[in-house]
């Protein structure tokens, strides 16, 4: 419309604007879809590549330099073991912190400081948490390079802020009238939290924690920094075993130059990791949907 004289543009004000309006609307829609469509295309690519590689043998064999023999079992078991330990660590600590911030703490400076601190911790790069694990758990406490313990504690500290924030939201959504009713019946604060607040908030807390575990299972950089071995041939048998994990094995394999690895074995590993992640998130969504139907 640059060629229009100013009078013509003026008289067609409404039409010109509407053209621009439609163009902008389409541009914004395209921008909204571009990321989603790109990811969908990449996922389609990797799924096609994984066909023929992702089979029972792959899931039940140890890694091998020969792509046709290579398997994912130790990494799969390692990831699940780390994740279970992370759940055991973060659930009580995260819920405890959320209960304190929502039910006990006032609006004072300490509470504000703790909340600002939690928000900032959620923004610390994961590789820095890896250095924390290396300096604190490996060097200072001497729990050993790359053991399940060290891996779980390191990643647990990383996802703890997310667990706390989501648990706080769940606890905040319990109506205050229910607490007051409980107090009116003569219940103490702790009885009210245990019998009224926590049961009502539990589905929300579970959803948040499980979603955070999904984040944990994909974390790679912290595990590299605590010197978790990228390739382990045996399934871990104790919490002090050296452990690999799915993302770590994928990172290791992706540096192999052979086409069979790049477009075969690694694709199978990626699809396995994404399927596990999807299952975890589905559980979280199932819990949430069920709660939304029951909830008043």
């Amino acid at each position: 419309m640059a060629a229009d004289t100013s009078e013509a543009a003026d008289s067609e004000f409404g039409r010109v604007s509407r053209t621009k309006d439609t163009a902008f609307r389409l541009l914004a829609l395209a921008a909204t879809l571009v990321g989603i469509v790109s990811l969908a295309a990449l996922l389609a690519n990797v799924s096609v590549d994984a066909v023929g590689w992702l089979d029972w043998d792959f899931l039940t064999s140890p890694p091998h330099p020969d792509p046709y023999e290579a398997g994912f079992l130790p990494a799969l078991v390692g990831s699940i073991a780390i994740m279970l330990l992370i759940a055991l660590i973060t659930f009580p600590l995260g819920v405890g912190a959320a209960i304190y911030l929502e039910e006990y703490a006032g609006d004072g400076y300490l509470t504000k400081f703790i909340e600002l601190n939690i928000a900032n911790l959620a923004g610390v790069p994961s590789v820095v948490y890896g250095l924390l694990g290396l300096g604190l758990f490996v060097t200072l406490l001497d729990l050993g390079y790359g053991t399940i313990f060290v891996a779980a504690f390191t990643v647990a500290l990383l996802i703890l802020p997310i667990v706390i924030i989501s648990a706080q939201e769940a606890i905040r959504s319990v109506p205050d009238s229910q607490r007051q009713a409980s107090y009116g019946m003569g219940a103490t604060k702790w009885q009210t939290i245990r019998n009224v607040v926590l049961p009502r908030a539990m589905p929300g807390i579970m959803t948040g924690t499980i979603l955070a575990l999904g984040r944990a299972i994909g974390e790679t950089a912290p595990l590299i920094m605590i010197a978790a071995p990228t390739t382990v041939f045996g399934v871990p048998n104790s919490f002090l075993s050296k452990v690999s994990a799915m993302p770590l094995q994928i990172y290791n394999w992706s540096s192999y130059p052979e086409t069979e690895f790049q477009y075969g074995v690694v694709a199978a590993g990626v699809v396995t990791l994404l399927v596990v992640l999807l299952s975890i998130n589905s559980v979280a969504i199932l819990i949430r949907n069920r709660y939304q139907q029951d909830g008043s």
């Binding site: 009580p92 250095l131 009116g184 702790w190 993302p247």
Partner: protein, 307 residues
């Protein structure tokens, strides 16, 4: 607390108090974590700076922690991080902002219920998977019409950009939704189209929230590790202003990728290369921490205006 507080610890005061302090400990653990991060980084970084001068670290132009002659100038790594961050910003900021406008001003409730979770998936994919995608799909695809190296900053920064789109869009959209409807109605009343309302009313009114989302997303891009470690390569390189395209087409090394490179090496000892990990980590932590604080500060200002 507007309602009267009827809570009491009853007869079991000791037990009630015990639980109170137990929960308080959990909350204080988060402060302890911050202290531990700073202490861990500082102890080894200070140790490192007794071997390598602080000035040499910050102004040196060569990064070679293990190959003789060793040199610990962090500038090439900061250059690499800058290249990735600028590339990711060019992808994520315009796309994220347009996405936020679409979701907040144009999309129906039904469209939003599909689009928002789909966008969140972008932030939920493990970064090691994005790194693999950049290396084996994006680079070969772009290589068809660009002279790309196997490892290059371009595909890594595109991937980082796609990953941070939801950070920009969700926080910006929150800010736009907080803009009072009366402002939109006033503009429509003057005969404005939706385009004018979005760009001349809603975006300016939500500007502090949008800035906050930009800073937070860039902070995430700076700290992103696996995508750049896999796809951008391990070549520390200073920014050459005469050849901006060359920076994106070739291999670079970011601060995070340098940490991964040292971390994957067999560094059981306590040599300067091991300690340099903590000096680079401290640099990274300080940069992202300051950016997160700025983002928090800017965001809290817009909350005061509209709520």
């Amino acid at each position: 607390m507007s309602q009267p507080d009827f809570s009491h610890d009853g007869a079991r005061t000791a037990r009630g108090t015990a639980f109170r302090y137990l929960f308080m400990l959990c909350a204080l653990l988060s402060i302890l974590t911050t202290v531990a991060i700073v202490a861990t980084l500082l102890v080894d970084a200070v140790d490192f700076f007794s071997d390598v001068s602080f000035v040499e670290f910050l102004t040196g132009t060569r990064w070679s922690p293990t190959n003789e002659p060793v040199s610990f100038g962090v500038l090439p790594l900061i250059s690499g991080t800058l290249v990735i961050t600028v590339g990711a910003a060019l992808v994520a900021l315009p796309i994220g902002l347009l996405t936020a406008i679409y979701l907040s001003e144009y999309a129906s409730e039904r469209q939003r219920s599909y689009l928002k979770p789909a966008l969140e998936v972008l932030a939920g994919v493990p970064t090691v998977v994005y790194g693999y995608f950049a290396l084996v799909y994006v680079t070969p695809a772009l290589d068809a019409f660009l002279p790309l190296s196997t490892f290059n900053a371009l595909s890594a920064s595109i991937m980082v950009g796609i990953m941070i789109i939801p950070m920009v869009s969700s926080i910006s959209e929150d800010a736009m939704s907080a803009v009072p409807d009366s402002l939109r109605q006033a503009s429509y009343g003057l005969g404005a189209t939706k385009f004018t309302v979005s760009t001349s009313v809603v975006v300016p009114a939500a500007l502090s929230g949008i800035f906050s989302s930009f800073i937070l997303a860039l902070s995430r891009a700076i700290g992103e590790t696996m995508i750049v470690a896999i796809a951008a390569g391990q070549t520390p390189r200073l920014i050459d202003v005469t050849d901006p395209a060359g920076l994106f087409l070739n291999s670079i090394q970011t601060m995070t990728a340098a940490m991964v490179q040292i971390g994957t090496g067999d560094l059981v000892g306590q040599g300067p290369a091991y300690k340099s990990l903590f000096a680079v980590g401290l640099t990274l932590f300080v940069i992202t921490f300051v950016m997160n604080l700025i983002s928090e500060f800017v965001a809290s200002r817009y909350r005061e205006v509209y709520r």
